[in-house]
């Protein structure tokens, strides 16, 4: 029953955004171009070097594609959380508290950034290209991995988004800080973890489980051992990491909302 509410909310958003059709199409295109610009940077880089952190161009593009698709999905679903400071400042968040539903779900459903479909499409295009240009031993499990990796990645990104933006309940202008983590982790996941220094790598790999978005699943797909010495298992546990991240994010959000209702602003 509760699900039907969200389906309706999302349907209503669809109709709302479609009422500006031309601008919607343009925004989708802009998002796709944005996404592909990041690909262009990788390609330009490979004009100068033949390998990045021990990985070839098509291997890096695979990581980039999984990460980009995952980020696009997360941005579509959870990107609305960027509006949280406005919600708090204008009192719209109070309106969410007056309804018999959870605040996080309402927040996500209140607006769905459908223009991010452009970004997702570009990511999927790159993924198709990368899969055909890498030497992959296709099996049922490989197919499962290709489907599951972007979805787990999207859940991980969304969790990061929720947890990072929760800071706005304490510091209303905490947006910049939150953006560093959300968009920063997107930049991190598009490249092999091996190109980063150990501290940054550990932070983005395990504190924010970004390495599980694209790096480890790609290693599993390419059937390569982890140059950093991690067990091969790491490539297959992204869904578990995603669930854990979602639980943690949910708890952080709950604490944050409790703080808000305890202090007001």
């Amino acid at each position: 029953m509760a699900e039907s509410v969200y389906v309706k909310l999302v349907g209503a958003r669809l109709r709302g955004q479609m009422s500006y059709r031309a601008s919607f199409v343009l925004q989708c295109l802009a998002q796709a171009v944005n996404q592909l610009a990041e690909l262009a940077i990788i390609l330009v880089l490979f004009n100068r070097v033949s390998a990045l952190g021990g990985f070839s161009v098509s291997e890096v593009v695979l990581m980039y594609a999984i990460a980009g698709t995952a980020f696009g999905i997360a941005d579509m679903v959870a990107g609305q959380l960027d509006e949280l400071p406005t919600y708090i400042r204008t009192g719209t968040f109070d309106v969410l508290l007056l309804r018999p539903l959870g605040t996080l779900a309402q927040m996500m459903a209140s607006d769905l950034h459908l223009r991010k479909l452009g970004r997702i499409a570009a990511g999927l295009g790159a993924l198709g290209y990368a899969l055909s240009h890498n030497d992959i031993a296709w099996s049922v499990w490989a197919v499962v991995l290709v489907v599951v990796a972007p979805i787990s990645g999207a859940v991980i990104f969304s969790s990061v988004w929720v947890a990072a933006n929760s800071v706005c309940f304490w510091v209303v202008d905490g947006q910049e800080l939150a953006n560093t983590v959300t968009y920063g982790s997107s930049a991190f996941t598009s490249y092999p973890a091996t190109v980063f220094g150990p501290w940054l790598r550990r932070f983005f790999a395990f504190v924010i489980p970004g390495a599980f978005v694209a790096y480890y699943p790609s290693l599993a797909l390419l059937d390569r051992p982890d140059p950093l010495g991690g067990p091969a298992l790491l490539g297959w546990i992204s869904p578990l990491v995603a669930v854990a991240a979602a639980v943690v994010a949910g708890l952080v959000w709950r604490t944050a909302v409790r703080h808000y209702r305890g202090t007001g602003s």
């Binding site: 909310l9 109709r15 009192g91 719209t92 007056l98 305890g262």
Partner: protein
């Protein structure tokens, strides 16, 4: 319906002192507030800006958790039973919208029906009633962003009634509305209270709202309740004077020495006389009779103290 006892709410305010130092200060927005509202009542909750009205409303609706004290609304403790309470009360904020900005009004209503899980039959009946009484028909399919403020407020009120709440809380519902829209809204709310028995609690700066809607008034200032009672009683208590304005046929000198009259003012070269008297000491009828023995009366009117004046005197009494 509402039970509030010894309710307190503190905020920590940080102020800058010097360039880097910050000082923390605890401010009591609501301090030992207590009142009860029975089912079917219509109560005005008034006070100047910063008196603690909105903070109280937020605690009654479960948005804010009280620092201490007892609150029950519809038998529910709002801060714990936020979602349960949400199904049973309706809330209208004059300055924030619960509608979806770029959707037609009708779609917002449909969404709220899904959110509150209102049975289709109930929903349709309630919506039809609101559409008729508030004349929403002409703009039901207009996106909310294109509505005038008056139209939007009618939409907001409808939105808060679709789930059939027992209690409707309104925070500044008539703010910014033109006279006609205000009047239409007041009429609707009055009917809602008297005919459907919905309990009303409203905060307002427009004391005409109170005059029109609320037989009872709770006055709050600086976080504490200054007065609680029927509007007429409060009026008799703090503003016991009424004024009899009399127009005479012939100009006359000031009508001194009338029993119970505390002051007089003469206007229009002796044609119009303002006689201030205390209800406890004389009646308007006795006074009129006394005047009639001394001059020929052309017209007269008895002026009650303005409600603004009543409230101002309540604030001044502290």
């Amino acid at each position: 319906m509402i039970e509030v006892r010894d309710l307190r709410r503190e905020f920590t305010v940080t102020t800058k002192v010097g360039r880097f130092r910050r000082e923390k200060r605890v401010v009591r927005a609501v301090d030992a507030v207590g009142f009860e509202v029975a089912a079917g009542e219509a109560v005005g909750y008034v006070g100047p800006n910063g008196a603690g009205k909105s903070t109280t409303i937020k605690m009654l609706t479960g948005i804010l958790v009280p620092t201490s004290g007892h609150v029950r609304v519809c038998g529910v403790e709002p801060s714990r039973g936020r979602r349960e309470l949400a199904r049973r009360i309706g809330v209208v904020f004059g300055q924030r919208s619960q509608l979806w900005w770029d959707l037609p009004l009708r779609d917002s209503f449909e969404l709220l029906r899904a959110i509150y899980r209102v049975p289709k039959g109930d929903y349709e009946a309630r919506l039809r009633e609101c559409v008729d009484l508030l004349e929403l028909g002409p703009f039901l399919d207009t996106p909310v962003r294109q509505l005038s403020l008056g139209q939007r407020m009618r939409g907001e009120v409808t939105a808060s009634l679709l789930h059939g709440p027992e209690l409707l809380v309104l925070d500044e519902p008539t703010i910014g509305l033109d006279l006609e829209s205000k009047e239409r809204l007041r009429e609707f709310l009055a009917d809602l209270n008297t005919q459907r028995g919905t309990t009303l609690l409203l905060t307002t700066h427009d004391l005409d709202d109170i005059e029109r809607l609320c037989p009872r008034l709770v006055v709050i200032d600086r976080g504490t309740v200054l007065a609680d009672g029927a509007l007429d009683e409060l009026r008799a208590e703090v503003a016991p004077e009424r004024v009899l304005v009399i127009d005479l046929e012939q100009p006359s000198a000031a009508l001194d020495g009338l029993p119970g009259v505390t002051s007089t003012r003469v206007e229009l070269n002796g044609l119009r006389h303002h006689l201030t008297f205390r209800r406890a000491e004389t009646t308007a009828a006795a006074l009129i009779a006394a005047v009639a023995t001394r001059a020929e009366v052309h017209d007269l009117v008895v002026v009650e103290p303005e409600i603004d004046d009543v409230v101002r005197r309540l604030y001044a009494r502290r």
